[in-house]
Structure formats: structure tokens, C-alpha cells
Symmetry: D2
Subunit: 377 residues, 4 copies
């Protein structure tokens, strides 16, 4: 009989609760990882609120740092005990989508055409807000962590950094261009960092919360616009001599931000969209130049795979990306309900939460005090 | 006092009439071209119907073949009497948009940010359904016609071929991919040819008119779908083993075709849109995979400039593009009202009309009988 | 004790001989395929001549069509008995190179950086000129063959079609461009087809053998140059109005063809190189414009993986690629020595040889008579 | 009779001397600019040494900041008195090369196919080390300087920043990649800045001069290698875990640096070359992986045009690029011979020289003391 572990399980509306579950079994192409640090994502809150459907009983969470606990027989080049980062997206490397370089849409099958298939952890299979989790397609998804890098410095790379930065990559931002980023939540802040990393000359962060606009400057914005104080489209036109930005990044998933992004973009420009849109989405045809303005609307799900994770860790190592200002709170896994309550309701100025399955371990590896609901820093 | 010429002038709702106008004057960077063959575009019909606004008194038309009549002092490398093709889009080559390689959005000014600015002829300046017209930025826009190429073989390159083919180029169609083209009017038929030219393996033409589906196969479609007989999205899914096409081209500009294009596209796929959208445009969020399906919506206005025209003529010369099946009718400029009536109301199986300012000249250069309203071939 | 099979084994200079070997064992991520048709590649001749080093005792060959004989436990979505095409390059899908989209350079390991690592069959592991062979990373490399496609129609896709076509893809040939292809051997002929598939307007085939120039026209060349009759660079300049081609493809691997390719290319143009260069390679600095002509020299090893094979088969199915004129001879595996002798010495007008491990099977599946050394067609 | 001005004129081996010349006349598409600041380029030194051929009597120099003195009749949107930056490359915007987006190879003619044609100033027409110069194709080449930007902050953008940064752009450096830059002269230092601007994670600067390695770190290098102390290829392999860099930039134009760049690059990697190669250039075939390592050798001449200049100024304005550490000396135009002597012989730790046609003016606009041969800072 398999050993038991603690895990955060979705059980219904605003109910993600701690349960005991068997430590997962390891298939030939899998790895089992003991989690040392994870976090809660905005998408987890959608699950918590039943806005995004996962089946009840599913262990949630998709942003894990940990230690290899067990390795499948077909996995080579790794050893038990090595520290690894696993991306939120775990591509198989072999299917139509992976070989077409749309790894995030990985179906993992020959004849099945799934959407968003690469997002497995905490979605189509059990996730990582637990003591242990199973990594599918482990050969493609275990990224070794350099010894000199703490868990805290890489935990946000699994999803929000990879997603946020991808907006500028997908838009193929060029050195010297202008970029506006709509919404400065965790993803938008990383998108701001991505625009900076791509060499944009003018980066404009848009949000309505003072604290986020402050973080926006910290992550790379040259100008910030508080949309509660002025019309962001007019402000962007003003900052770009009337022309509009080369690239607008949408990082929220609402009709108003989508519209504003399209309006703020010059003819021939790009809207790079990260948001998840529910309900209806309308294209303002005038801002779309009636379909003949050479505008482009691009969408990106989080890029995954171990090489993506390695590259992002290299940025952190060489001090080109510092996400530490985004971790505002630490919780132990035991306090998962409290963590969801605080994060889901955006209380206490929370940006991102670090979640430790084992308070003791995290205290050893990290440089931040682990507490229960206490605000870091 | 300047000499007079005949010209087709927009004078109000369904009124494009023959008038006498002065032959245009030639500025230092201009050329005056004597038109030998032109055609009527779907966009001209929008003007005729007052669905697209141009000022009254404007000479219409933007697809000219002709002979250089006069050259501005700053234009070099050309001589009066040379035969030239001029694209519908006449970029300046110097402004922000041209230097950013969005030539179709050319503003021609330092500090003005126009949309669709590169479309001047028959829009913001006088057009080519006339005996003579002025070519702005002539150095960038006069494409010499090889001696062995008749007017009829190149007149459709100025707009519909350039526009239609651009859909596959913008979508970066890869060898072996699958492409569906929604609507098989003149632009859609050229988009079908474009998909073939890019090496798509499976090309699917969608329309509701038998004759157009026949032309679709002629231009390169491997499969055709009559949407009056079966649901095109279901048919496309069936033809692609359930997955959807890599690229869907929208060539009509309506909500249903836009939606179907998005639905027919696989995760990670591209909608390459050529249509002009009026009214409202809604994005079906499920087909859009809620914004996280790595889908892309790309729009393209017609590429212009003399080098674009040269490349397209090279395709025709080397027998890789034959648009002659699309010219179904010939008219003389004198019969312009009759021509708009027939084309605007899509009578007599018309696809494209060839329009000769001078019946005599055209008969010399061409291989098709010039008549008044008679169906060619 | 494992069963025995016949296999073509490299045993020394101009000695590839038939031996008995155990049918290979199947690991969890492998498949064992029973070969129904294969061919001899120019690279195999380099091995035969000891110009390219493989260890003695290695079974050679890397272009297999066959039937699944056994499947590893971790491979899903396939069944024994299915017909499959396997590319010459068998990427793992998981390593640094695969995740960086350089699949041909696949190392298959975490910390090993091999060159050309994706070429395993008949190189670093046993190959396919045998009754059976082992497919490594089977999940990524088994491409199912449609029922309506004969072995003969797809056997050349595994390497020469994939390699040849890739030259135009790597060069990103645009619709309407001009392309010259230096050498019209099997790879060069496929490169010519690739230029046509990408929509080049003017394709120029260069070779010194009448028969190959004839095939060159068949595969898509608009013009052919017999370099024994005229200087190819001068001829290309003449055909391009003095400017040179946009893209020159080198498909031989010699100093003279490399130089001519660089010289024949316009400023800002691309040399897309497929040849294998031994000895010294010099860049003619004047043709290289001293390094400041915006020229690019690109190299490509054969792209592999099942999706590549599927796309190429789609081209064949939809009659956009027909390589049947290239198979000039058929041999049975028993006659392997005779086959190498004929192909290695380029006798009897040979272009490509089809090689059947079992004469009887091939006769059933194919439309060409299997004989011993008899010239097909 | 036209007024006279002072100008630096090439008159023979190591003889660039001050002469009196007429202020140039202004054609309809030209502008005459009064120079306020310029600099000496390594290419000027090649001219001075007769290593690069220009005709005797040519005014040299191609990196101007100035004030519009006169405008041609066809130039719009500018006024006399406006401050402008003009790039070293002055594309026409209309020819085959410009419309093919190879503006640096601009021929400016219909039927002439020049190499490096876009470099006119101080090469094929008179240059800018003078009190006044003529800007050809002024509409495309006058970049207005924001009021808040001094001459010193933008003079190095005209050539070395544009050239250096282009290496990373041409190589399409991706966020998180590794880049080595061979040689840390002015161009190489800007290439280092370019790699940083594109988001490379690990940037390695290679040179043999202590001071340059120090500047290399300042411009963005994470690691520097003194090639006089250790083998740079071995060091790069060590720093990249044995694999080699994703991109190596060659910024010198010698056989050893070219070879090292190729050797230091991983399979599938890119050599982005900026150097000017004289004599012979050999490709080390093993490092080239015999032509089948998926390696790419890319070359770039300096990108020009007013929009390029605008984008680079935006980088400076938003403090993403600071080239001020590179200007080590100031000279007045009167002291041009002394300036060439110092710069040409690389004395006194010189990196770049600022050259003022009028000592008085420069003192007004700039923040650095203008002196005769005195070391700045």
C-alpha cells in the first residue's frame, strides 16, 4: 500500500481543502517530485471560484520547485535528489503539436486534437500543491536548478514569468519599439519585464492600483498610466506623438482592455494577448481598421518544457530578471484554505504567495521568513 | 490651358459617370501615365454604393496598366513611352510606415498617422479609370512591363492578385500545411492561388456558387466545399482528420465567414483575414480558445510598390500564375456606367471586367475582343 | 535466443556485405519495424568509400518504409502491422536541441553536445538496409502511411526530399523570387522541387549532365544551365538582368559550387547550403562583399520526425510532389553488393535505387517490377 | 559663386587634410546640413591608409549631427534650423533593394546592382567631416533630434551603434540565449550592448585589451575573456557547459576571430558577422560541421534611414543605451590631421573621438569640454 501525503484538492465552490492522498506512482516515462516550494496562480482562483472547470477531487497547482523523489525506467540523465523546476506546461515532445512547435497545445496523442492540452498539472492530471506530484513526460520537463539558485528565485518562472515574457516574444518586439502593457497583475508585470528584455525603448504600464504601477516601474515601465485618472488610449497616443504603440499587450482578459489595446496600437501594429476571455469578445471595427490596417492579434499560452525553464533561470542567474518583489506572502501548505482566501480576495496587497509543503524545508532553502498569513517584507 | 481627358467620376449613390477633366499636372516626383487597361474592383463598388466614403468628384479606380506620358524632374531611370504597371498601393518609401515595412499604411508625412494611407489612387487622390492619371512617388511605383507580356496578363496584379496572395504570405504558410479559403470571389480565388504558391499540401475552397467552386479548383483548391450544401467547419474538420486547418483565410469580410474561419482552425493555427468588416465583429470565444489557444488573427491590406509588381509579373511570365480565367468581360471606358451596373450587381456570371480607355489600343495589345457589355471568351 | 535476419553491413573499404544478424530487441520507447522498401543514399556511398566514418560492423541505411513488427511498452497510439515511414533523422523530442527546434542536431542526452546527433540510423546505431530495424524514440518517429500510398511513392521522402526541400525553407524563399540550384543530383533535384513549392518565379538548375538537366526541368526548373557549356555565374547574371539570384542553393559540397553559389547571389541574398564539405572551404571575399553585403550562408541537415514525414506524404497525396522519375533501378537486398557497385559508380544513368528486403512483398505493394540490376521503366 | 567651407579631404596615403570647398548645392530631393558634431570611424582609417578605395579629393566621414541649412523643393515636413541626425547609410526608399528591405545595399537606380550602395556619405559622394554636407534622399534620411538630447548623446548612433546592435538583431537573439562577442572595439562594444538589449542571458566579451574588457562589462558583458590569457573557444565552452554559445558575433574581420566564432558556436547556432574581411577567408570545415550542423553565417552592413535613427535615439532617451563612455577624446575640425594620427594609431587609450566643425558651437550644445587632443573625462 502506497504512502500518504497532504494535498490541496478542489472540492467545490471556493473549497480547495487539504486532504490525504497516496503519493503518486511512477510510470516508465514519469518522475515523482517532492515539492519544496510552489505558489497559487490566478487560474487556480478561477478553479476555486468554479469559473474554470476541473473535476472535483483534482489536486490543484501547476508551479512547482522540488527534488526528484523517483524516476521512471525510461528517463535518463537525472538522479534522485536533484533539485528541479517544472513548467506549468509539460509537453510530450512527440505529438503533432510539439513537432509543429506549438508545444503548449500538446495533445500527447496521435489522433486526438485537444486545446490547451499541454497544461496538464492541476488541470487534466493531479497538480503540485501537495507534498509530491507526478511529472508526465519527465525527460522533456525536468529542469535542473543550479546550486546557487534558491527556490524563491525560480518558483515564479514556471508560469507567470514564462507567460508574461512570451507576450513580447510572440509579438517579436524589436529594439527601439514602443510597447504598452494593459494590466499590471503578476502576468502583466512579467510582460513588462519581457518588453524590457526585448529592448523596447518606451514601455508603458497601465493599471488602476498605485502599488502595481509602482511595481510596473520596477519591472521596466518607463511611463505608467493610472486608468482611473486618465483615458489610457489618449495617454498612449500622447506619449507616442499621436501614432499609437507598436505593440500592445493585453494581460487581463476583459472587453475594455482588449478594446483599448487595439485602439492604442498603430496601423501595422500588434496586439499580443495573454488574457483569458470568458463571455463575449467584440472587435471594435474602427480600431481594427475594418480588417485592413495590417494589425495582428496574437495569443499565447504559457511556453513550457525544461529548456524554457533553463533559459529563464539563466536570466535570473545573470541578474536580468528579478521577480522577488512579486512574492509578498508566504504560507505553509497546511494553511492552504487561508492562502486561497487571501489571494482569491486580493487582500493585504498580495501579489504572489509562496507556498511551502513543509515550513521547515523552505526556511532552510529560502531567504524569506515562512509565516502563516504574515506579509513578507 | 491643360488638355482634357475622359474620366469615371464618383458623383453620388450608384452614380459613377463619365466626365471631362484636365489631364493631371506632373510634379517633380510624379509621373503621368496614359492608361491602356484597367478594371473595376469590389472596393469601387463599395464607393459606388456609398458604403465606403470618398469625396464626390473623385476619379475612381486603382488598378492601372499604361504607358508613361510625362515624368517629373526628380524621377530617374524611366522614359516616356515605356509600358508600366502601377500597384493599387503607392508607398512613398520614406515615411515611418514605409521604413517600418508597413508600406500599405504609408502616411507620406513626417507627423501624420493615417490608416490605409498607402491607398491613394481613387481614394485620397484621383484614380485610374480615366485616360490619364498621376502616379505619386513615381520612383517607387512604376513597374516596367516586359515586352512579351500583354496588358491583360498583368492588369489583375495591381490589386487582387497582390492582396489575395498576401494572405498566405502573411500567414507564413509552410510547405505541406493545410489551408482553407473562405469565399471564392476574385480576392479569394487569388488567395487560393497564393496558398498553392506557398506549397500548401491541402487547399480547401469554400463558396456557395458552383461557378466559383469550379474556378477555385482551377486556381489550386484540392477540395471545394459548397456551404449551401454542408457545414464548412464540419467538412474542414472531416478533411483534416478532426484537427482543423493550419491556416484559414477570410476573403469576404462578414461575421459568419470570420467565425467559421476561426472555428475551422486548429489550436496554434492562423486566421489570415483579407475581408473589409463593417458594423460589428465578434470573436467566438470558444473557437478563440478563450484567448489561450495560441491562435493568431492577421490582417493584410494589399502590398504595393514596383518591386511587388515586378515579382508578380515574374510569376505570370514563368507560368506560375494565370489569372486570365478571371477576366470574364470587357468594356470600353465610355460604357463605364453599364460596366458598374453589371459588375455591381454581379450579373452574367461576371468575375472581373477589363476596362479600356481606348477600345482601339486595347484591341492592339490584347488577345481578347473588346466589346460593349459582351461576355468575353 | 533471438531470430536472425539479413542485413547490409559495413565491413571496410567498398565492402558493404550481406550478413546474418539478430532481429533487434525492442526497448520501452522503441519500435521494431519490418522493412518493406528502402534505398541507397549518397551518404551511404561515402561510408562505403570510407569517406565518412562509421564503425565496422554497423548495419547501414537510413531511409525506411515498413510495417510495425513490435512496439515498446511506453509507445502509444500505434498497432503492430501498421505501415510506417521513418525519417532519416530520428529526434528524441526532449533534449536541448529538440526543444530549441534544432531537432536534426538532437543529442538525446542532458549533458552531451553532439553534432548531427539526430542522424542515428545507419550511423550511430544500426540502420535499415536489413529485414528489420529498431526505431529509437518511436513515439516521435513513426509516421503512418495512408492506405492509398504505395511504398515507392514515399520511400524518397525519408531523406532526399526532406533535405532537398529544406534548402528553400531555410532560405525562406518568397513568392516571386529567383533561385538557382547548383547540382542536380537527387538532393539538388528535390531542392529544385522545393524552390517551386515555395513559389519562386524563376528557378535555374545547374548541372553538367544532360539527363539531370532534363530531370531538373521536370522537377520545376524554368531554366537550366549546363556548366560544361557556359559559365553558370555569368548565365545566372544574364537571366536576372545582371543582379544575381535572391537565393542560391548549393547541393553538392565542393569549393567550386560553393563559390559559384556565392557569386551568383545578389547583395542581400542567401546561399542555402546542403552539401557536405570535406577538406578546405574558402569564402571568396569579393563575392562575400568583404563581409558587408548582407549576404547569408545557411546550412541545413535533413529535417526529421513523424510530422515532417506526414507533411511530405500529404504533398505527394495531393500531387504536389512526384519523385517517381527519380527511382531508376530496383534491387533485392540480396543483391546489395551489386547495388552499391552500380550506385556508387553512377553507372547506367542511375538516379535512385529502390531496395527490397523481400522481392515478393515489394512486388505486391509496388507498381514497379522488382528485378536484379534491371533498369526500371 | 558659392560660399566656401572647410572640409577633411582624402588626398593620399595617411593624408586626410583640411581644404576649402564650396558649400554643396541642394537638389530637389536633397537637404544641406550644417554639421555640429561628427566622429571618425574605423572605416575612415581604412581610407586614410588606402586599405579601402575612395577617389582622391573625396570629403570623408559618415556620422553627422547637424542643423538643416537648406531643403530641396520636393522635401516636406522639415524646416531650416531643425536639428537632425543622419545615418551613415542613406537609402533611397524606392529601388529594388529598398523595396526588398535590404536598404543598406540600396542602389538608388532601376538597373544598376551595386554592392554596399547605401553607403554614400564619404564613400561614393562627399561626406560629413566638413562644415556642411549634402543629404541625398533627404525625405528618407533626416531624423529630427528631440530637444532634450545633446549632440554627444546621438553622434555615435549614426554608424557604430546601428551596426553593432544589428548583429544581435540579424541573429534574432532570443531572450535567455548565450552570446559571445569577438573583439570589443567600438563596434564590438555596441554589439555587446545589442545582445543585452535583445535579452541574452549570458553575454561574453572577448578582447585582449584590459580597458576594452572593462568597457565590455559596462556595455553588458556578464563574462569577459582576455584572449591573451586563455583560449577563448575553450573558455566559452567552459562557460556554456561544453555546448558553445547560441550566437557568436564577429566584430573585427580577421581569420582567427571568424574561426573562433564558428568554433565557439553550438550546432544549430549562428555566427553574426560585422567585420570587413580582406585577403582570404577560410571556413574551418570541422567547426562548420562539414556544412550539415545547421549553422548559419550572417552578415550585416549598418542599417540606415531616419526611422532607424529615431528608434536608436529613443533607446538613448529612455536610458537603455548609453554610449558616452565610448567618447574618449574631442577635437576641432581644424585639427583633423592630429585627430586621424591619434585615432589611426590608437594612441592614448582612444575609443571614439568627437569632432566639432566649430569648437564654439559644440561647447554650447555639449556637456564635454572641446579641446585639441586632450583626453576627455
Amino acid at each position: 500500500m502506497s504512502e500518504l501525503m497532504k494535498a490541496a484538492v478542489f472540492e467545490g465552490h471556493e473549497r480547495i481543502v487539504l486532504e490525504e492522498r497516496p503519493i503518486p506512482a511512477c510510470g516508465p516515462t514519469d518522475a515523482i517530485v517532492k515539492v519544496t516550494l510552489t505558489t497559487i496562480c490566478g487560474t487556480d482562483v478561477h478553479i476555486w471560484r468554479e469559473e474554470y472547470p476541473v473535476e472535483r477531487g483534482r489536486i490543484v497547482g501547476h508551479e512547482p520547485v522540488g527534488v526528484i523523489h523517483e524516476l521512471g525506467g525510461a528517463v535518463t540523465g537525472y538522479e534522485v535528489g536533484e533539485r528541479v523546476l517544472v513548467g506549468a506546461i509539460t509537453p510530450c515532445g512527440s505529438c503533432f503539436f510539439c513537432q509543429s512547435h506549438n508545444e503548449s497545445q500538446c495533445s500527447g496523442h496521435e489522433d486526438r486534437w485537444e486545446m490547451i492540452g499541454g497544461w496538464r498539472l492541476g488541470n487534466s492530471i493531479d497538480g503540485v500543491q501537495a507534498e509530491y506530484f507526478r511529472v508526465p513526460y519527465a525527460q522533456a520537463n525536468l529542469a535542473k536548478i543550479p546550486d546557487d539558485m534558491s527556490d524563491e528565485r525560480c518558483v515564479l518562472l514556471a508560469d507567470i514569468a514564462s507567460t508574461g515574457i512570451s507576450a513580447a516574444e510572440t509579438a517579436n518586439v524589436q529594439i527601439g519599439q514602443s510597447v504598452a502593457v494593459f494590466a499590471q497583475g503578476p502576468i502583466g508585470l512579467c510582460a513588462t519585464a519581457g518588453a524590457r528584455l526585448r529592448g523596447a525603448a518606451l514601455i508603458i504600464g497601465v493599471d488602476g492600483i498605485e502599488r502595481r504601477l509602482h511595481l510596473s516601474r520596477q519591472m521596466g515601465a518607463d511611463e505608467v498610466i493610472d486608468y482611473t485618472q486618465e483615458d489610457p488610449v489618449a495617454a498612449i497616443k500622447r506619449l507616442t506623438g499621436g501614432r499609437g504603440v507598436d505593440v500592445a499587450i493585453e494581460a487581463l482578459g476583459t472587453q475594455p482592455t482588449f478594446e483599448a489595446a487595439l485602439e492604442a496600437t498603430r496601423p501595422g501594429g500588434i496586439v499580443s494577448s495573454l488574457g483569458v476571455y470568458g463571455g463575449k469578445l467584440e472587435v471594435p471595427v474602427e480600431a481594427f481598421v475594418y480588417g485592413i490596417g495590417d494589425k495582428r492579434i496574437l495569443t499565447t499560452l504559457c511556453p513550457g518544457g525544461k529548456e524554457r525553464m533553463r533559459k529563464l533561470m539563466e536570466l535570473v542567474r545573470h541578474e536580468k530578471l528579478d521577480l522577488s518583489p512579486l512574492i509578498t506572502h508566504h504560507f505553509a501548505l497546511e494553511d492552504i484554505e487561508e492562502a486561497y482566501d487571501l489571494f482569491g480576495n486580493q487582500r493585504d496587497g498580495v501579489v504572489k504567495i509562496a507556498l511551502s509543503p513543509n515550513g521547515h524545508d523552505a526556511a532552510v532553502s529560502g531567504d524569506l521568513r515562512v509565516s502563516t498569513g504574515a506579509r513578507a517584507g
